[in-house]
Every structure is written in structure tokens, then in C-alpha cells.
Amino acid sequence: MPAKNEEYARSLPLLNKVFAWSSLGLLAGTVWMVWDDYYRPWKRVQREFHALTAKKTETAIQQAEQAVDQNALKQIQEDLKAAQAQADQRKREHDALREKLDRADVLVFTTDTHYKNTKSIYDATRFEYEELSHQNSARAAEQQEKLRKVESLLAEYKLANEKALATQAELKKQEEAILGAEKVLEKKRADLFAGVERLQKKLAAVEPQGFLMKSFEVMRNAPLVDFMAPSLKIQQVVPNGQNKDINFLTIPRVDRCQTCHLGTDQTGYENDPQPFTTHPRQELFLAGKSPHPVDKMGCTICHRGLDRATDFFDAAHWPDSSEQQAKWTKTYDWAPKAHESSPMLPKRFVEASCLACHSGVVHISGAAKWNKGRDLVERVGCYGCHKMRGFEGLRKAGPPLTRLIWKTSPDWAAKWVENPVAFRPATWMPRFFGLANNSSPEEVARTREEIRGIVAYLFEKPEPGGFPRLPGKGDPGKGEKLITSVGCLGCHAIARLEKTPPTLRRRFGPNLDGIGSKAKPEWIYAWVKEPKNYFPETRMPNLRLTDQEALDITAYLTTLKAPEGWEPGEAAPNPPLLDRLVEQQLRARMTAEEVQAKMASFSEHDKEVYLGQRMITRYGCFGCHLIRGFETTPPIGTELSEEGSKEVDRFDFGYVKIPETRHDWITQKLENPRIFDQGKVKTSDEKLKMPLFNFTPEEREMVVTVVLSFVKEKPPLSSTYLLDARHKALEAGRRLVQEHNCQGCHLLEGEGQEIRATIARKMVEEEGIGEEDADSRAVAFSPPFITGEGARVRSDWLFHFLKGPTPIRPWLAARMPTFGFTDEEADTLLRYFTALSESPFPFETPPPQPFPPGEMAAAKTLTSKDYFNCFSCHQQGAKKPEGDPSGWAPDLALANSRLRPDWIVDWIKDPQKLYPGTKMPTFFDPASFDTSGPDDVLGGDENLQIKALRDYLLTLGSARMGS
């Protein structure tokens, strides 16, 4: 107590009040601080998920309870009562038994312990004995005696233990006899309810039952004490070896996405809203057995985004559409996350992540959008200007311009370069002129003069030579028939014949519209006869046309004229503008006096050629076309090998108001490449020069997906999809298949045969077949399915066929062209097909000949008119079947040199299985195989009959190679 007469500096009640209020305030502040720190949005999400799971589990429990067989349950309950009554009767007996059993348990334990202890003593004693005898000590003998005693003790204890165990077992058996029935029935009852109990346990895990558990649930997640056993916790996956690149350093990925996305790896949440929705395609992603299990891969390696974040905004979620963005802004207060180097990929671009691990393949299975984008990139030739990893060493996308005069005229070329789309709306050639940054009247005048220059350059000093005049006259009607049947439409489209836009494979070759106004007839004739005479690296194969066929086709193509109102012609020359442009170019490279001198030495034509040369350098035409003087010039575009990792701030958005993301910039660039010059002041040499490609919005999205897939990060080798030998062979083959567009005509690996649509169309128009049926009718009249070619034909035959095709199917109008494969390419294709069917490569042993004569006789019977009548449709060497070739079947004399013996057996057994839709009917109905064949040949044994037929076929035709 303070002394009585002391004063206080301040009034105590006031101080008390201040102290009290400030204490309360600080307490409130502290509580608020702790609560704010502990409240995380993901905890609320987890609670929602638990509630959802609880609801589902409750429904499942109800269903499971209803599913319990009530009759069986009643039976078991009755039996149980009886068993229990029985057990009760024998209670006294049981009690006595129990006592004995307890004693037996004790005995077992004690003897066992004794044994174990004695064993340790034995080991120790033995060690000592070893030491002593090693030291030749006198005490060794004594020790040995001790050892012997311990050994015998050990044996005693072991015996005692065994006896005790036996007694115990016997007593247990007796007990089992009393209680056994009850136990079995209890188990049966438990089994009935096993499902229910499991579900109830599950329910208890997510929703605590009862007041005690409910309060515990609250306590265990309370602030400060939730370090012990929280039910709401962060879920994280640290995928082994996956790293993230953060500016010159790599750190491991730590994916915490599943903290909120809880239902993704469980089935049953397919119809629930995000973030709980089950991930689609569980057989491919997330499931333990899938190739991308979530505990090894995590989430962000595919979806990108900030891996360690547990907040909706921090994770850099990105909306897939404006509707989704509006929804997110409302629900989550979403705004674009600035300065995030790896924002999440919007859903429509998610296939961009596949390439990092699945590099080195032509197509990534399962990534259809990316594959189409890649095909587009290769077809359009982006790599001609932009260096891209994975697209090295590819041929130039466009035809050579070294001998244009053989093909067309300067007037045509000038009008074409100015606007290719006006001549041919479906062209692959992009537009350089008339775009956002060169459409003003001055720009148009300037570009017209530039085009004059370019054309002057291209037609200057052409390669000597040319094509001779046509050797005769062709019939356009016949030509049209030929073009639509011989196979041209597998790679080419002709707009006036198309009802729907052609697929990408049918746009492999250029659209043929307007070719009559573009190319000289001599050129067309020479081209269809042998394309390599003009363009040695062309993909167009040789159709082995006769002269007359070529003339007919030329006549037809010559009728395909330019669109109405399109006229070839260069702009009128503008000498003052030409002078100005040439001076501008010269000035950048030499002093003013030198420029004057040079100008004086130039003629008008020289100026045009010079300007053309400079413009070709600027626009980079040589990226797609071989041009004299530019054979080795490097491409002019930005390297895109790591475009998907490029920092968003590095993209030049200029003054264009679009969302600041990579995908928006790239999409905008593809849609209007020059738009980023908007608002900028640039000289003509500084302006953007990327041309405009004719992509549809869907195609743009595919290409953007591909560009986004070019990233800097390389996954660890353990995650990369490495190709084994078989897959390497497959990939090499697929590369060739892609390069030569085999799938334009053939169904291979489940895709292609796009020519079938044109054949069906022809059937509808010419034969009046209904549109719904035409497609299935066209199967038999289209080029064959070749996925199983490796199993079907012999490798040596296939090699020769690929090098020089011969007709096999007389009813097909389409011809397999001569591609001019090198030996290496043909071998690659052989390895590809045999790898695909896992057939023996390169050789296999044929069945030994000669075949038993009885078998041959039987086979001859089977092929005769009274039985299978094979030669009613099949050619046999020189013997041809009756009727029109459109009703014939392949020459069976080719069988022994062409077909694999095992395949012949499979084919005869069920052709429809190997080739659904084939004209060859099934002779041995698989539903009734054992009675399908005739009963009077080879004892009615269908397998023998088929073998006989196969062997017989192998005797037709010329001798086998090597036999």
C-alpha cells in the first residue's frame, strides 16, 4: 500500500479506465488478427466439399441399406439366435475351457521367452568358446562343457514350447467347436453390411456424428490448436523431379491445387460444380493407373499457374471465355494477375503443355487440337520465317520461283502478289499488302511500285528452258471425270465441286481454282505428267498418266478460270516514286554521293530489279520460296522456340487495347498481324511485315495452342515420354506419312481416307445413290485401309510396290501414285508398317511346299463354281472374271508373292473383321463357325478347309522370291 500522503500524478480511475479500454481494444485486435490469419478461403471450400461428400455418402448409404437382402438377414439373425442359445447352454463348459486356454497361453509365452533368453546365452557362450579356443586357452574345455549344457537346455525349452503350442491349438479347436458357428454367422452378417459400414465410416470421416464429435471437429480446426490433428489441411503434391524456372534458377514444384480441387481425382463428382468436378478422361489423367498419375505429375505441369498458391487469385486462374470471366469477377472478385510469368492456361489451350514431355513425335495421341495446329503450322510454313525447335530441316512451304516464266506471266504474278485471296480464296499464300498498316493511298501506291520491282526481279534471269507445246487436244469432260476419280481429290480441292469446306488433308495440295487463268497449258501438262521436272522437291507424286489422260486433265483445268472481275496486270509504272524508293534503299547503305552515282548508272529496269531485290529481302519471300540469289539467306522472323515462356511484358502491345496475356497477343497477331503498328509513327522500312494468313478462328486457336507449347523449361528425363525402338520406327514412318499425306487417300491409324467423301459425292451425283448410304457404299470403292498393311503383305513385295506401284484392285478408279521414294524412305515405311502390326521384319519362312495333293484337290473343289466360286469375282492371272472391272476382286495369282500366309488365313476366316465394309463377303460366319463350311469337303473341318484354300492360293502365280 502506498504511503497515505502521496499524490498521484494522474487520476487513478481515469488510468484504470484507459487501461481497461485499451486492454480490451488490444485483446479484440489480437483476436481479430489471429482470426484473420487463420481464416483462409480454402478452408471454406473444404468444408463445402465435406458437406457435398456427406450428402452423396448418405444417399449411397440409403441405397446400400435398401440393397441389403432382408431375407438373408432374417435367416442369419435366426441362425445367430439359435447359435447363441446353443453357446449359452454350453457356457460352463466354455468357461472351464477358457481357464485352461488362459493357462495354456501363459505356458506358451513363458516357454517361448525362456527359449529366446537361452538362445542369447547360447550365442554369448559360443562366442566366448570360440575366442578361448582361438587363443588356445586352458579354459576352453570348461567353456565347451558349459556350451553343451546350454545347448541341451535350449533343446528342452524348444520341446516344451512345441508341446505348449500343441496344447493351445487343441484347446482352441475345442473352443472353436463351441463358438465357431456364432463367429461364422457374425461374419456373414458383417459381410451383408460391409458396404454399408464402409460408407458409414466414410461419412463419419467427413461429417462427424454426435455432439461430442461435432465439438471435436470445431476444436480440431480452431486457431492455434490446429497444429495437432486438423481435418482441414492443405493438400500438396511434390512431383518428383518437376521444376519451375524462376528467372535463371530452378526450384521444385509444389502443387497445392488439390487443397480446393478435392474431387478431381475421385469418380462420382462429374456433375458437381467446380472446384470439385472430377477431372475428365481419368483413364489418361490423374488415376493411379493412367500415364499421368496425379501423385507423380501434379497439376501445374499441364495447367501452369502458381503451384504453391492456395488462393483463387494467387494461383493465377485464367478464364476461358468472357462469360466465365464475368462469372469469376462476380463470385471470386477475379482480376487479371499482373506480372505472373506462368499464368494458368485457359482451358482451350491446355494441350499446349503436352509438347514439353512429348517432343519428337509427329502427333501427340490424345491432343487432337495441338495435332491439327501442328499440321497447320507445317502446311502453312511458319518455320520459313520463324525458327522453331522441332521444325528444323523441313522443305520450303511454297514452290520455287526460279523459273516462273515457264509457268505463268509477270502480269499474273503481280496481281497475285498484291492480293492472293482475291484470285483464290482458299489459297495458303498469305497476304502482304492491303493490310492494316499499308492500306492508305500513299501506301498502296508505294506497295504497287514495290510489287513491280519484285516481279521484275523474279522474272529477271530465269533458268533457261521451258516446256514444249501440247502434243494434242484434250477433252475437258473426260478430264473432269479423271480428276474426280484418279485420286487427285485426295490432296486437292476444287471449290466449285465442294459442298462443304474441305478438310485439312484435302488442302495438302493447293486449291485448283483459277489454275486456267494462272498457268500455261504446257506447264499444266508437263506438271501432271511429271511434277519433279519443274519442282524437284515437290510433294506431288506421279500419277502415271498417259499422254491423252494428261491432255484431258489439262483441258479441264484450263477451264477453271479466275473469279469474275479478276484481271491480271501490273500497276502502271511511276518513275518518280520508283526513284524515291530506290534512293531510300540506297541511302541506307551508302553515302549521298554514292547514291547519286548509282542512280545515274541504273536504267529504269535496273531500278525496278534493285527495288525488287531489296523488297524480297525485306519481306522474306525466300522463307517459303526458292529464289535466285536468296538460296542461303536466313529467315527473317523472330525465333519462336521459347515463345510460350516469353514474359508478357516483352510482347509489344503498342496502343492496342487487348487483355495483356500471351494468348491474346498471339491470337491478335494472327488475326491482324500489322495492328500493333496502330498509333505509331514508322518509316516504311520499320513497319511490321508479318503477312496475314487465311485461318478460321478455330484454326487460329489451334495454331496459338502450338505456339504456346514452345517453352523454355525442359522436364526431367524421368518424366519425358521416351521412345523405345518400336515407337521410333513408328515415328519415323509417321513423319513420312505426314509429309506425303498418305491419309488423304488411305485410312491409317484410324484417321484419313478423306478422298472417300468425294467418291461418295460422285456416287450420289452419277449413280443416284442416296446421300445417307453413299458414305458406306464408298468404302469399297475408296483406296484401301492400310493400318494392317504390315500384317497383310510381305516386306519385300511392299518395298517394290512403294518404289513402283502396280494395280492390285481392278475396281478402284483411284491410282496409287509413284512417290519416288528413296530406298531409305521405303525402308522407313516398311519398318513403320511392320512395327504397327508387330509383324516379322524383314523376312519370314513360308509354309513348306509341295502341299499334300489331297489338300490341293479339296481346295480346287472349294474354289469351284458349286462351292465358293472364288473366280467368279477374283482374277486368276490372265483369266479375268465376267462383267465389268468395277465388280472384280484382286488377282489371286499375286497372293504368293504379295501376301503373308498367316494373313490369308485370317482374311478368309473373317474379312469383315480385318476390313469392315469390304466387298469380300464372309464365307465362314463367326457366329456359327463350326457349321459354316460345306460338310463334304475335308470332313467338314472349317480350319482345314481354310488352310487348304490358303495353301492352294500360294501355288498360283509365279515362283516366290528366294524359294
Partner: protein, 233 residues
């Protein structure tokens, strides 16, 4: 006495009426073709002429009678939930390939039934079906297989061809319910036991395609449903 007699008669009549199942009418009509009849075409037989030339092979894709009647038009009621299922007959319906021609050219069989394909020509035939809903079939039928069965489970419109004799063609309609019929050579047809109501009646001809018309079926009696196909362009 008279009263008792009339009561008895009335009672019998009621009983008789009561024994009749639900009230049902029928639809009769004639399908005609508004355009000019096509010139009769004969299909050239190019194979197995000795067997296949036994019968004439006129082009059956558009058969117009002298009075413009259209043969082989399938007439049926679309979307009739109350329609009874077409009864599966005790004996399987037959398709005969006599003389390398499908007899009949257009046939209707109930869904779930099995059709027997006959080959009495003594040569190799095959039946190649182009269905939309059932499994496609391409079965050979050599000389020794005179009868072969094919099951059709689902309602369908199936094109039939033969790959050995490429001119052969026919149609098989697998009907989901009983109110399906095909017009005769003169274009007339009759659909019996149709429950009263207003329906959309569909006409389908293999060359001219599908057309519809509305028809109201009375409780008893016939509803007339003549239809004229417009000329093919």
C-alpha cells in the same frame, strides 16, 4: 315378351361390342407420282448370264404405273407411341435371290425378327447390308447354303446389295411398330387396326425420298390418305 326379347338382343349386341378390342380405324390411299413416268430401263446382266437371265431385270428404283401409281412406297406412321409392336411371325419372312434379283424389292419385317435369305439359283450369291442402326453384314451364300438367317434387332432402313452381282439391289424396312405397309404395283395401300387420332403419315420411296402428310383416323371406318409425290427435279 317382346321386351324380354329386345333386352336379350341388346345384351348380346353389347356383349359382342364388348368383345371387340379397342376401337380402330384404317387408312387407305393411293400414292401417285406427279411427274412424267420415267422411261422403262432394263439392267444389263453381266455375270452368270445363264442363271441370271431367267427373269427380266427392269430398273425398280422408280416404278410408275400407267395411272401414275407409285409402287414400293413405304407408308407408315411416324412417332406413334400407342402403336402396338409388329408381331414377329411364326415363320421367318423370306428374301429370295431368285435369278439374281431380290424378291421382294422392298420388304417390311418387324424389329427383333429374323429374315431368311434364300438362294435357289445354284451359284454364289452374297448379301451385303447397309443399315443405319443394326450391324452391317456381308455374308457369302454359296450354292450349298440355300437358306441363311439374318437377325435385325433395331428399327432401320437397310439397303441390300450383292457384291458378286453388282446390279442387285433391294430394301428392307425393319419396323418398330405395326403401322407400316408398302404400296402395291398400282400405288394403293391399306393400314389396318390404327387407333383413332391425328397422325403424321410418312411416305418413303427410294428415289424420291420422304414426304409427310397429316391424317385423322376415325374411331371406326377408313381414313383416306392419297398422296402425290412432286416431280423429281
Amino acid at each position: 315378351m317382346k321386351r324380354i326379347a329386345s333386352l336379350v338382343v341388346a345384351g348380346c349386341a353389347c356383349a359382342a361390342l364388348g368383345m371387340v378390342p379397342a376401337r380402330a380405324g384404317s387408312i387407305v390411299g393411293k400414292v401417285t407420282y406427279a411427274g412424267p413416268a420415267p422411261a422403262p430401263k432394263t439392267i444389263t446382266v453381266t455375270k452368270d448370264k445363264d442363271v441370271c437371265s431367267r427373269e427380266p431385270h427392269p430398273d425398280e428404283t422408280l416404278v410408275v404405273a400407267a395411272d401414275k401409281g407409285l409402287a414400293n412406297v413405304v407408308v407408315y406412321i411416324k412417332d406413334a407411341p400407342a402403336a402396338p409392336k409388329m408381331a414377329i411371325p411364326a415363320k421367318n419372312p423370306e428374301l429370295d435371290q431368285r435369278s439374281c434379283k431380290f424378291h421382294p424389292h422392298v420388304q417390311i419385317i418387324p424389329a427383333g425378327s429374323t429374315m431368311d435369305v434364300l438362294n435357289n439359283d445354284g451359284i454364289l450369291h452374297n448379301i451385303h447390308t447397309y443399315p443405319k442402326n443394326n450391324t452391317p453384314v456381308n455374308q457369302a451364300q454359296p450354292k450349298f447354303k440355300t437358306r441363311m438367317s439374318l437377325k435385325f434387332d433395331k428399327p432401320d432402313t437397310v439397303k441390300l446389295t450383292c457384291d458378286v452381282h453388282t446390279w442387285m439391289n433391294g430394301w428392307l424396312i425393319v419396323a418398330p411398330h405395326a403401322w407400316y405397309t408398302v404400296s402395291g404395283p398400282d400405288g394403293t395401300f391399306k393400314l389396318d387396326n390404327v387407333a383413332p387420332g391425328t397422325y403424321t403419315l410418312s411416305y418413303w420411296q427410294e428415289t424420291l425420298g420422304s414426304q409427310t402428310a397429316q391424317v385423322t383416323v376415325p374411331a371406326t371406318g377408313e381414313a383416306k390418305a392419297d398422296f402425290a409425290y412432286p416431280a423429281k427435279k
